[in-house]
Amino acid sequence: MTEFGVETIYCDARALQDPNYRYRGVGQHSASLLSALGKARASRRHPKLIALVDPLAAPLDRIHENLFDEVRSQPRRKEHGPAWFLSLSPMTHDPTWIAPLLLDEGLHRIALFYDLIPLSMPDRYLSGAAQRIDYVNALAWLRCYQTFASISRFSADALIETMGIDPCQVFVTGVAVRERLEPPVDQPPLSRAERRWIVVAGGGDPRKNPECALRAHARSEILCRAGLRLAVFGNYSPEMQQELQRIYLSEGGRLHVLRFYKDLSDGELHQLYREGLATIVASRAEGFSIPIVESSAAGAPVVVSDVGAHPELIEDEEARFDPDDPDRLRSILERLALSEDFWSGLRTKQSALWTRYTTSSVGQRFLDELNTRVGGLAAPTVRRGARPQIAVLSPLPPAASGIADYTAATLRPAAEVVDLHMFTDTEDAKPEQAWASLQPVSAARNALRRFDAVVGVMGNSHHHVEVFDHLMTYGAACIAHDARQTDFYVHLLGLERATTVASSEAGRSVPAQQVLDWMHNPRDLPVLFLSEIAENANPLFVHSPTTAKLIHDLYDVRPTVLPFAQYRLLPPGMMLPQQRRRARTLVGVHENETLLTTFGFVGQDKAPKELIWTVRMLSNWGHRVRLVFCGQAHPLSKASYEALAQEIGVEHQITFFDRFVTDETYMQYLSATDVAIQLRQYKLGGLSGALNDCIAAGIPSVANEHLANAMLAPSFVRRVPDNLSPLLLAETILAIVDDSQVRSAALGEAQAFALEHSPARYSSLLLNGLGVEVPLQRRAT
């Protein structure tokens, strides 16, 4: 075990990516504590420190990156064993991004805590509704932390009182002064006579209140006569400077003694403090105040407003003033100018202040407190007997998506034993009685804490974009419907991203054109574009053992196989002889004609040309056959297939649809057909919803070996080699046609298959795979 009793420390490092924070208070404080952890890590067996960064934000600066052992772009825990989670900015960066970690009972969660100033100055910081919502949201998530490292006692007390946090969970670190602002060993302080400035710690935020200092100085004849000019440092725009100058003038000041400084180096800032008779920190609210410590380090006494953490830093009331009382400040400053004893006394009392806030002492305090307070990890709480809460992120009916239908149909049985909360981007999705709730996918991140499991359902259409984003950001269990995600990446995430992923998976640079070629010819695909899903899914469910093996071989992830369920409700009795006769009449099949049907969208990978040649072979042999492509065909493709049919003289035996095939027509052909033929020329373990229907209906069918095996198809689905041959297809079809027993045998086998592939069993296997314990009496049957 390591020094801290943990193997891994995950750190939300977004504060170090944010230009508003990375080099300022939050960033500096965070970096100093991380540096302390780093030094501890260097000493003995140390936990691995992992930065979790937002891939869409600026990358970490090298100086910050070096603080970590590893940088990751997904906010999730991967390592096993005891671990901590450390947030550098719990109130300033979206807490839902790191929700999986905040909800992880296996982690000890630690927050660096700064202040609750916005609550006391809502007009300034929480004026908009969005700001208020974000802040309240952040406050709510704040309760997920178990330990708080507060920058001051003042902030700690605010946290305890306002949030009702147990005081035992909170300790105070202070904030470290940067090392370059510490006094050099060989540098004595300047004498009082050498000091020509009153220094004002300002800043862009109005609460810094330099106006009080300006008024105090402008009103003082004594300071003027003493030749003590006023130096204001902070990031002030010319307009802000003009406004401050106006105030200064209006109070009787003369502009030639007022100077503004911005963008000072640490050396310049230290020198400015050093040349000051005193430093004024007039802020209206502070959780800590680093200028106080910096000024102390430069040997300049500090006069501070009597707010926030200031009293715990500057205990001497004689050096404090009401931030709305410039005359009180003026009197303190004049006393400092006039009384060397007062000045010396104040300086002496404050001279050692900074030594409590060096990087090493703050860092050591942080480490000591962590070691003392963060003991063994508490076991996660388990709610026994409660109905499990499952979130499912998926398109739902009436989206034009087979996956939408599939999700709805196959998970309904699960709703009998768990609460299913459906998150969908299908605009007109209708609430069902089976669903415990129905919300947009974007809402899922706000509710992660409620769920025992979250399942994202992935496919290649635009219906899955939000689901994919959620999966990439928060991780979840995932049901991957498709054997490849090429189209999803190219069409929905962009060719650049697709090329990047392709190169990563192939282990070489893949040109964009090759990705496009692969998309059009999936047979040539050496990778599946599933690496990111595989990495972010836990567990990953697939429907085909072939796909599972490919994923394992390619990405070293072992998916769970859920046998594809029969989800489409077929009309009862559709395979009865009289129903079939009726369907055959409706679709116009002659009595002595053999109807061959291939179902689904007509694409090159479904071997339409081979099927047309198969009709030619069967016709050569004297059989009267008709082939129907019962699915929409693209007009251009259709024209080329019709041209082939005409060229070889079977054009009157082939039927195409150039529009979406209605359910009614689809069902009629299912009922009417003598032999169904479902082929897939690429071998990635892809499934066929159409073949699933054929199996459910008990239609004697032909499929290539790869597809049939991926579907775990029963024996009435006759296999042909994956390297297709119209001769073999024709022979196989004839073997079915010539077998008078085949249809009745198929119906019997189909019934047994249906039990094994029912939605109820699917639901049960899914819940089992999610590790959701369902009481026996509640299990779906």
Binding site: W613, R616, I648, N723, S725, P726
Partner: protein
């Protein structure tokens, strides 16, 4: 002299390589009876017709099998020199003319040309080699099966078919025509067995060497032969020699054969005719296990040289000869192959098989050429 026979060898002249089919083309030309006129032609796609092949081009392509290995690029360059497209002389095919096509081809335009000629009552004759591209497409990893169909449709429509074996003819009748008992499938004329031009040997009991011919293409079963051989006792200097070309990426299951460095097993990947003759001169028997062959010429050639043969019973080349001098196996189980090899290590049994092999009357290429000419002129 009767009217000439036009020989459509478009593929042979445009892409001359050393395939088994092109070997047959060469033998047909070399052994065509002198008294019969043979006019080699090739398709001119632009003109949708044929042109006469210039003698230098034909000579060059014909003798490629006697040259040292040349690259495809060099071959193409030489052929361009000998057969410049702008100097081609059109061959005007008329009603009643005879065209013999001793090739398999997938060029749809060439198929269309043949169909048109058939409507013009030109007599079209085809040498049909095998049906493996349609019955065992996986052997060739065929992706675009539709592209292979025009040729199959063509030969199923044209009645003048000459198969290289009775087995292929029977398969065509039953599976392509679906008329297994019909006499209309065509004729079967087995290929010549004397291609190696070896003297027939007599049995020498001191020879303990088996020889196994065949390209290392993954389906010849060399790994089974090796496994069977390793089961023998090896008491008396038994040896096994593999002879065959190795493709750029041999099948993984053949790697143990190709990397075998033992004293008793030898792999010869580039045998000259002389070396081949030397090997057959010291061999006791030959082995040819693959049933999935268009024909299996090496098996017949080794029999022709007098060697007994262990072979798969379904090898098409065996369908036209008696089983004499052979141990025909119905399995490729290594145990069964080893048992056959043990039988052939018995001197008495082997001597009997040598006698039988010597009595076989196998067809020569000369006979084959005359038979094809007679068939095409009938």
């Amino acid at each position: 002299m009767s009217s000439p026979v036009f020989l459509d060898i478009s593929e042979f002249i445009q892409n001359p390589i050393r395939t088994g089919i092109q070997r047959v083309v060469r033998e047909v030309i070399r052994n065509w009876p002198a008294e019969q006129s043979l006019r080699p032609i090739a398709m001119n796609a632009e003109a949708d017709g044929f042109y006469y092949l210039p003698e230098p081009a034909l000579d060059y392509a014909l003798n490629l099998d006697r040259r040292t290995i040349v690259t495809r690029a060099e071959t193409a360059e030489r052929l361009r020199e000998h057969d410049p497209p702008n100097r081609r002389r059109a061959a005007h095919i008329r009603r009643g003319d005879r065209i013999l096509t001793p090739e398999l081809f997938y060029d749809a335009r060439r198929v269309a040309l043949h169909h048109r000629l058939a409507t013009e009552e030109v007599q079209l004759f085809y040498i049909v080699f095998d049906l493996l591209p349609w019955t065992r497409p996986a052997l060739f990893n065929i992706g675009d099966a539709a592209a292979l169909m025009p040729y199959l449709q063509l030969i199923s429509r044209m009645p003048k078919r000459c198969f290289i074996s009775t087995a292929v003819k029977a398969q065509f009748a039953s599976r392509v025509l679906r008329q297994p008992d019909s006499e209309d499938a065509g004729v079967a004329i087995p290929l010549g067995a004397d291609g190696l031009q070896l003297e027939r040997r007599v049995f020498d009991p001191s020879s303990r060497t088996f020889v196994c011919f065949g390209t290392f293409d993954g389906r010849k079963g060399q790994e089974i032969v090796r496994e069977a051989f390793l089961k023998l006792n090896h008491d008396n200097g038994e040896r096994l020699i593999f002879v065959g070309r190795v493709p750029d990426e041999p099948a993984r299951h053949l790697l143990p054969v190709l990397s075998d460095r033992s004293d008793t097993i030898q792999v010869i990947t580039d045998a000259s005719d002389r070396l081949l003759a030397d090997i057959l001169g010291v061999a006791r028997a030959s082995i040819y296990l693959s049933p999935e062959e268009g024909y299996g010429l090496p098996a017949i050639e080794s029999l022709y040289s007098g060697l007994p043969l262990i072979a798969h019973a379904e090898l098409p080349a065996l369908s036209d000869i008696p089983a004499s001098g052979q141990l025909r196996l119905n399995s490729t189980d290594p145990e069964i192959v080893a048992a056959a090899m043990r039988r052939l290590l018995d001197d008495a049994e082997t001597a009997r098989l040598w006698d039988e092999a010597a009595g076989l009357e196998l067809q020569s290429w000369g006979t084959y050429g005359r038979a094809i000419a007679n068939w095409a002129l009938l």
